[in-house]
């Protein structure tokens, strides 16, 4: 009836190109690293200051000095490089990262993204998300199409405070894949067993052909 988390990650992984440098957000985007096409060299950036992020360590091999942007323990790879946070975000802001894949609370038909704050409720902070969406070459959002109440997260206009304005290129949800194009969103692909009508009815945003 729709894509599960792992399928969404696999679909998102089709975005990858050989030789790319990519930043993956927390949650489903992290799973994308399990689906890097064989033979592709894809280097993961962790915005706290690392290129060449490796997998989680084996138990007993955790290193307090080696964490990712989600504060999880990770490992290094033979081509890893470390740098400070100013350098890391210079790289992000300067457009050197080819793509960011990240989660969202809301996406609008103009490519606006909200994923950092619910006024009065959730005030954790934007972390590096605003820098990423403003700086990287391509922004792909992976999220559920609707919230727990069944309301569309793909909107005409975002209702939550924005992370970035007109920054999203593509949205991959459990129901399908949509691109931000002039005038609204364009359906690129439907999830298995999802009809065009189902996707449209779950979407508040304008869909263009």
């Amino acid at each position: 009836m729709s894509w599960d988390r792992n399928q969404m990650a696999a679909i998102a992984a089709r975005e990858l190109r050989d030789g790319w440098y990519v930043n993956l957000g927390i949650g489903i985007p992290t799973l994308v690293s399990n689906h890097i096409p064989p033979g592709f060299s894809v280097t993961l950036q962790s915005e706290n200051g690392m290129l060449g992020m490796g997998p989680f360590p084996l138990a007993g091999e955790e290193d307090a000095d080696l964490i990712n942007a989600g504060k999880q323990t990770i490992t290094e790879l033979p081509n890893s490089a470390y740098f400070d946070s100013a350098t890391s975000f210079a790289m992000i802001r300067g457009g050197k990262i080819n793509m960011a894949i990240l989660g969202a609370m809301e996406v609008s038909e103009e490519g606006d993204l909200a994923n950092w704050m619910i006024p009065g409720k959730l005030v954790k902070g934007m972390g590096g998300a605003m820098d990423l969406v403003a700086g990287v070459g391509r922004v792909v959002v992976v999220m559920d199409h609707t919230n727990k109440a069944g309301e569309s997260k793909v909107l005409r206009r975002c209702t939550l405070p924005l992370t970035g304005k007109a920054v999203v290129d593509r949205v991959i949800t459990n129901l399908g894949m949509l691109d931000v194009v002039p005038g609204g969103l364009k359906i690129v692909e439907l999830a298995e067993g999802v009809s065009n009508e189902q996707l449209r009815s779950a979407t508040e945003a304008t869909i263009v052909n």
Binding site: I67, S85, G128, A166
Partner: protein, 234 residues
């Protein structure tokens, strides 16, 4: 004129005053100046403005200075792991200025680099841009962000030589470099102080010119999210 002090408390002697602004290195609990934070708590200096990407956790790192109500205002990008922070913020006891992470890092670097302001596209069209000067360059809109200049920088490195040259380890470098540069005075804590000549001049991450006082001591180096993978079948 030695830069090496015997303890965190003596290294901070004469540098502290109520209402001062402190820039702190670290990301999450990784690479935080834990000994200097403990000493700040002991010294009891108040009404601090602290620029730091995060605010520690309730019982470690900058969380300790929140518990003791020594912090008036935080400039941070993410404070999700600290429930006391959230309580003080939502009740209005604590001021909070959210900065995008890269903007925060660059504001510190700018402060250290004699750049009072710079333009960035980060945050344009969001609440971060409110009240800031907007300017177009080559058809894109940017906002003016100001430098952070702190009264004191506190940072944590892996090793120092006696002249203050610093080397960091892995992702513990993070905000320590920009934070170190933006203070009038920088105090660094390290795991080991080595003699001058023991560090390769091509391998130094932060030259000693930025480091005014140095201490060493035992670090807890807590892990916030211990995440492991299963051992693969051979």
């Amino acid at each position: 004129m030695s830069k090496v002090y015997s303890s965190a408390t003596t290294a901070l002697d004469g540098l502290l005053f109520d209402g001062m602004m402190i820039a702190a290195g670290g990301f999450g609990l990784c690479g935080i100046p834990e000994l200097l934070i403990d000493a700040l708590r002991k010294c009891g200096v108040k009404n601090l403005t602290v620029a730091s990407n995060n605010a520690g956790v309730d019982d470690f790192g900058l969380g300790l200075l929140l518990q003791s109500r020594q912090i008036k205002k935080m400039i941070s990008s993410y404070v999700g792991e600290n429930s006391e922070f959230m309580r003080q913020y939502l009740s209005g006891e604590l001021e909070l200025e959210f900065n995008p992470q890269g903007t925060l890092a660059e504001r510190m670097r700018a402060g250290g680099a004699g750049i009072p302001g710079f333009f960035t596209a980060t945050g344009v069209g969001t609440i971060v841009a409110e009240g800031k000067e907007h300017k177009d360059f080559d058809g894109r809109t940017y906002i003016l962000e100001r430098a952070i200049n702190a009264d004191l920088s506190i940072v944590k490195a892996w090793k120092a030589d006696e002249s203050g040259n610093l080397i960091f380890r892995k992702t513990a470098r993070n905000f320590n470099v920009p934070a170190a540069t933006c203070g009038k005075i920088c105090v660094a804590e390290v795991e080991e102080i080595v003699p001058i000549g023991a560090m390769p001049p091509d391998g130094i991450h932060l030259p000693g010119i930025y480091v005014h006082r140095l201490i060493t001591g035992t670090h807890q180096k807590r892990i916030e999210q211990r995440t492991v993978r299963a051992k693969e079948a051979a």
